[in-house]
C-alpha cells in the first residue's frame, strides 16, 4: 500500500516570500546592481562562470544576487539556465599563446621572453584588512609603462626546444573530442574529458586534492612553469560563412605545471606536465586543476596508484559541486516513510535484544540456584 501525504503548499509559498524579503534585506539600503557585482565582485563572478561552466558575466552576477552570495547555489542556477539554451556548436580551440596577457609569471625561469608580469595580484600584499575601503576612497589610476611588444611564448615551448619536456598532450588521430555534457560518465576517461570535468570541478575539492599531492599522497614534485591570465579570441565555424567567425573574447587562466622527470626504456628522462585552463581570473583553481591533471595521469605514466588524487573515478565522480550538493542536501527533504521503516526495524531489534537478555538472566539465575 502506498499512502501519499500532501501538505506544506502554503508554508512553501510563504517561505519563498520570506526568502525574497531576506534576500533584499533592509530596504533603506540601496539594492545592488548587476553592474556593481560584475565590476566589484569580479573574482566571485569568475568562480561562478568557471564552475557553472558558462561564460556570461551578467548572468553569473544575477545568479550571485539571487543566491544571496551563496556561490554554490549561484553555480546551480547557472547550470540550470544552461539547459534551456540550444547549442550552436563547438568553437575552434583558443590559442593561449596569442593571449592579451594581463598577468604572467613563471616559477621556473627568471628571465623568460616577455618577462614576469605580476598584473592585478593579491600576491605580496600583507593581507591586512583595509578599513578605509569602507569609505569608498579615491583610487589612483594604474601606472603605465611602454611595452616591448615581445611575443610571450608559453614556457613549455622553451623547454620543448631542448627536448627536456614531454609534448603538449596529443590524443590518437581518430579520437573524437569527448563532451561530458553530452555523454554519460564512463571510466577510464580520456584526458580531454577528464580536463573538462576538472575545469568545472569544485575549487575547494580540487584545491584539497592538489594540496594532498604536495603533502605526499601521490607526490609529483611540481613547479609552476607558468601561470598566465588574459583575454583570448573565440572563433566558431559556421556553415553560412566562408571563414571562422570571431565571437569575441573571453578571459581565461592557464597553468602549466612542470613535474618530475620520468623516463622509460624507450623515452629518455624528461619533465612531465599537468595542465589547467579555467574561465576568468581563477589562478588557484587553474593551479589545483593542473596538479590534479598530473596526479590523474599516474596510470598513463606507469606510476603506482596509491593516493586519492590519483584515483580517477574517486576524483571525477566527486568533483562536481552541483551533484555533490544535490545529494548531500537532499538528506534534509522528507524521508518520513523511509525513517518510519527504520524505526520499526530498530524497535523490533530492541525487543529481540531485550528478550534475549531476559532469557540469559533467567538461565544465569537458574544456574546459580
Amino acid at each position: 500500500m502506498y499512502v501519499a501525504v500532501k501538505g506544506g503548499e502554503a508554508a512553501i509559498a510563504n517561505a519563498h516570500r520570506l526568502l525574497a524579503d531576506r534576500r533584499r534585506g533592509d530596504r533603506s539600503v540601496p539594492a545592488l546592481r548587476i553592474d556593481q557585482i560584475v565590476e566589484q565582485l569580479a573574482l566571485g563572478i569568475d568562480r561562478v562562470m568557471a564552475e557553472g561552466s558558462l561564460y556570461d558575466r551578467e548572468l553569473a552576477a544575477l545568479a550571485v544576487m539571487q543566491s544571496r552570495g551563496d556561490l554554490i547555489e549561484a553555480i546551480f542556477l547557472v547550470r540550470a539556465y544552461r539547459t534551456t539554451l540550444p547549442r550552436f556548436g563547438y568553437t575552434r580551440p583558443i590559442d593561449t599563446a596569442a593571449m592579451q596577457v594581463e598577468r604572467r609569471v613563471s616559477a621556473t625561469y627568471k628571465d623568460l621572453p616577455g618577462g614576469q608580469l605580476l598584473g592585478p595580484t593579491f600576491d605580496y600584499t600583507h593581507r591586512l584588512l583595509d578599513p578605509q575601503l569602507a569609505g569608498d576612497p579615491d583610487v589612483v589610476e594604474p601606472e603605465q609603462r611602454e611595452t616591448d611588444g615581445q611575443r610571450m611564448a608559453r614556457v613549455s615551448e622553451i623547454l620543448a626546444r631542448e627536448g627536456l619536456i614531454e609534448a603538449d598532450g596529443e590524443l590518437p588521430e581518430d579520437h573524437l573530442t569527448g563532451d561530458i555534457t553530452r555523454e554519460p560518465l564512463e571510466f577510464p576517461q580520456a584526458r580531454d574529458s577528464r580536463l573538462q570535468a576538472l575545469s568545472r570541478g569544485d575549487e575547494g575539492f580540487l584545491l584539497a586534492l592538489g594540496y594532498s599531492t604536495q603533502r605526499g599522497y601521490g607526490r609529483s614534485h611540481p613547479f609552476v612553469g607558468e601561470v598566465r591570465i588574459g583575454e583570448v579570441e573565440v572563433e566558431l565555424d559556421v556553415p553560412e560563412l566562408p571563414f571562422p567567425v570571431t565571437l569575441g573574447r573571453i578571459r581565461v587562466t592557464e597553468c602549466q605545471m612542470v613535474n618530475q622527470f620520468k623516463g622509460s626504456a624507450k623515452a629518455p628522462p624528461q619533465f612531465t606536465r599537468g595542465y589547467g585552463l579555467v574561465f576568468g581570473q581563477s589562478e588557484r583553481k587553474a593551479m589545483a586543476m593542473s596538479l590534479c591533471d598530473r596526479a590523474l595521469r599516474a596510470g598513463e605514466l606507469g606510476e603506482d596508484i596509491t593516493a586519492p588524487a590519483q584515483d580517477e573515478e574517486f576524483v571525477i565522480s566527486h568533483s562536481d559541486n552541483v551533484q555533490a550538493t544535490g545529494f548531500v542536501e537532499h538528506l534534509k527533504l522528507p524521508h518520513y516513510v523511509d525513517f518510519q521503516a527504520e524505526l520499526d526495524l530498530v524497535r523490533r531489534m530492541r525487543g529481540e535484544h531485550e528478550k534475549r537478555n531476559q532469557i540469559n538472566e533467567n538461565d544465569q539465575r537458574e544456574a546459580a540456584e
Binding site: L54, D56, R82, Y90, T96, L241, L247, I250
Partner: protein
C-alpha cells in the same frame, strides 16, 4: 580568374575583421555609431536574433589535443535588406539588439557602394576604441613587470 579569387579572399578577410569588430563592440557604442551613420533598422529578420550556447575548446598543454572546457552564451541574427543583401552576426553574450544591428551592418558592408562608409563610420571607430583599450591594458600590465637586479655583497 585567378585575380578574382584572390580578390574574393581579400574581401572575405576584410569582412571577417569587420564582423570581429562588431562582435567585440559594446552594445551601446554600436547603437550610437549606427544611429550616427544613419543605419536604418529596416531589415527582414531571416533568423533570430536568438541566444544559444557554444562549447568553448582549449588544447591540452596549450597546443595539444582539443578539449571542451566550458560553454558561453552567443547571440546571432541573420537579416535581409530591402536591397537584397544578407547579413549575419554572431557575438558572445545575450544582446539581441546588438545582434540585429550587427547583421544589418554586415549586410550593408557587402554592398560595395556602402562599404567605405560603413568602414569609416562604424568599423574603424570600433577598431580604434578596441586598439586603444588593448594598448592601455598592455601598458598597465607592463608597469607590473619585474626588473631583476643583482646585489653584490662583500669585497670580492
Amino acid at each position: 580568374m585567378k585575380m578574382d579569387r584572390r580578390q574574393e579572399r581579400e574581401t572575405e578577410a576584410q569582412r571577417k575583421v569587420a564582423m570581429a569588430a562588431l562582435a567585440m563592440a559594446p552594445g551601446d557604442e554600436l547603437k550610437r555609431l549606427c544611429a550616427a551613420a544613419g543605419v536604418s533598422n529596416d531589415a527582414e529578420l531571416l533568423r533570430g536574433p536568438e541566444t544559444g550556447l557554444v562549447s568553448v575548446r582549449g588544447r591540452i598543454g596549450g597546443g595539444g589535443a582539443p578539449f571542451n572546457f566550458g560553454e558561453a552564451t552567443v547571440t546571432r541574427a541573420t537579416v535581409r535588406l530591402p536591397s537584397g543583401e544578407i547579413g549575419h552576426s554572431y557575438a558572445l553574450g545575450r544582446d539581441k539588439e546588438k545582434a540585429k544591428l550587427s547583421a544589418i551592418t554586415d549586410a550593408l558592408w557587402q554592398n560595395p557602394e556602402r562599404r567605405a562608409e560603413i568602414e569609416d563610420k562604424i568599423i574603424a571607430p570600433l577598431r580604434a576604441a578596441q586598439a586603444e583599450a588593448d594598448a592601455t591594458s598592455r601598458a598597465e600590465t607592463a608597469a607590473t613587470k619585474v626588473d631583476f637586479f643583482t646585489m653584490v655583497r662583500g669585497e670580492d
